[in-house]
Assembly symmetry: C2
Homo-oligomer: 262 residues x 2
């Protein structure tokens, strides 16, 4: 038995998230049908994360076990030749049998893209949030630093979530700008349901003057979802990096040249 | 009577080109229905160019006459609020009554985007051509310079075109690279049907070693469509800039800050 790890990217516009759902097309459906075609078997695939409808991934990981001896390079080509054009496989490699795309993951980085301009860019339709009021990224970085460290993030979790342990650790959270594009980047050991979208919504509430940066510790401590900002739309959100040992998410991380295969 | 000039951008993926067609959605249809709603009249709109199905525009111009006294700024907001998200209006201004988006145009610049990598980027689906063999842009620039100047471009026109005058002037044609993205940029006084896509296909034939740069003058002179390269797919093509007097297309041109309204 071999255990394979695929690193993929996908534009999520056409999908109802990664995980298989009833009556809705998911990224995992596309994968399972192509694996069935290429491997002539139907392995159970494990994704590194659930994602919401319309959320994108610059990097997403899938692991699955197979008896087939197809070489990793051959599988990479076969998958890319058979998958829909809005999903791409970046790398394929063999990993130890106890590796699991989700349970072995020690951290994730998310990116939220905001287009900060008076009018939309038609090429960013469903790929970035249009925000028409000025954003001072330096001021937002003052607010973002209050989220760093280990906290109970119940305030920043969708109200109907049933998860019991709402303590998470944020290693990095910062806002940068390139022209009209404003990027919210957050790295942590894990995230609650809608947590990244609520964190970004809260920083936009800071931008709008509704919340002062110094109020954030109190808002975190309150556990009251209503004191945080709105849940910004899913289409600006990108799973950006997935960390596995020995990489240390506290030190950041980037695609290696080898992984990008460019 | 007022004559208005709109500068727009659109992602062409969902449209059968700009011009109204039977039984197919065109960018002009979207505009006409929104103008009807906003102005309560149906002006005849003139586009700067026809575009093929799936072709995009970083800049496209529309002119139309109206009796309505709505201010340009108000019309800009109203159009952006009512148009589909894959079309955006950048600017609106009043122009002399004899201005015509197509007939007043003295030049155009097109951009063709090639993603030069072993595997596709899912975010470039329908926005760039994937080309998996190495491209040496310096070598292609040697070939591109043979196209400069005034020539009969019958070789580079779709074979069934009925246009009589196939003489055009190319002011600039060059290839640049940013990482895996290779950009073909061509500026001229006008272009024949499919001409830009055949020019790019011919440079890709040069890249593949099928045509030597020094053969190009002879290929131009032959008037034989079969000696040029293939017509590359429409989805990598962007109308990039539209020149009107007093701008001189021979000197290049860029959006002014005022036009971009950023």
């Amino acid at each position: 038995m071999r255990n394979l790890l695929l690193t993929i990217r996908f534009c999520g516009t056409a999908y109802h998230g990664f995980q298989v759902q009833k009556n809705a097309l998911a990224v995992a459906d596309a994968f399972q049908s192509v694996l069935r075609k290429v491997l002539k078997e139907s392995p159970q695939i494990k994704g590194c994360s659930r994602t919401d409808t319309g959320v994108h991934a610059n990097m997403f990981c899938i692991s699955f076990q197979t008896e087939k001896q197809i070489p990793c390079d051959g599988l990479l080509w076969a998958l890319n030749n058979n998958l829909p054009d809005d999903i791409g496989v970046i790398s394929c490699r063999e990993v130890p049998l106890d590796f699991h795309a989700r349970y072995s993951c020690i951290g994730k980085r998310y990116l939220y893209q905001v287009y900060n301009a008076p009018f939309r860019d038609p090429f960013l339709d469903k790929r970035a949030l249009l925000y028409q009021h000025p954003i001072d990224e330096k001021y937002l970085n003052e607010a973002a630093k209050y989220f760093l460290g280990t906290h109970d993030f119940a305030t920043f979790c969708r109200a109907d979530s049933t998860v019991e342990d709402t303590v998470r650790t944020i290693y990095d959270f910062h806002v940068t700008r390139q022209g009209p594009m404003v990027y919210f980047s957050v790295t942590g050991d894990g995230f609650l349901y809608n947590m990244v979208r609520i964190l970004v919504g809260t920083l936009l509430a800071v931008s709008a003057g509704k919340i002062a940066p110094s109020e954030i510790p109190d808002i975190i401590a309150s556990g009251n979802r209503e004191r945080a900002g709105i849940t910004v739309p899913p289409y600006g959100l990108y799973l950006d990096y997935v960390f596995y040992p020995p990489e240390d998410p506290r030190a950041g991380g980037e695609f290696s040249q080898e992984e990008m295969k460019l």
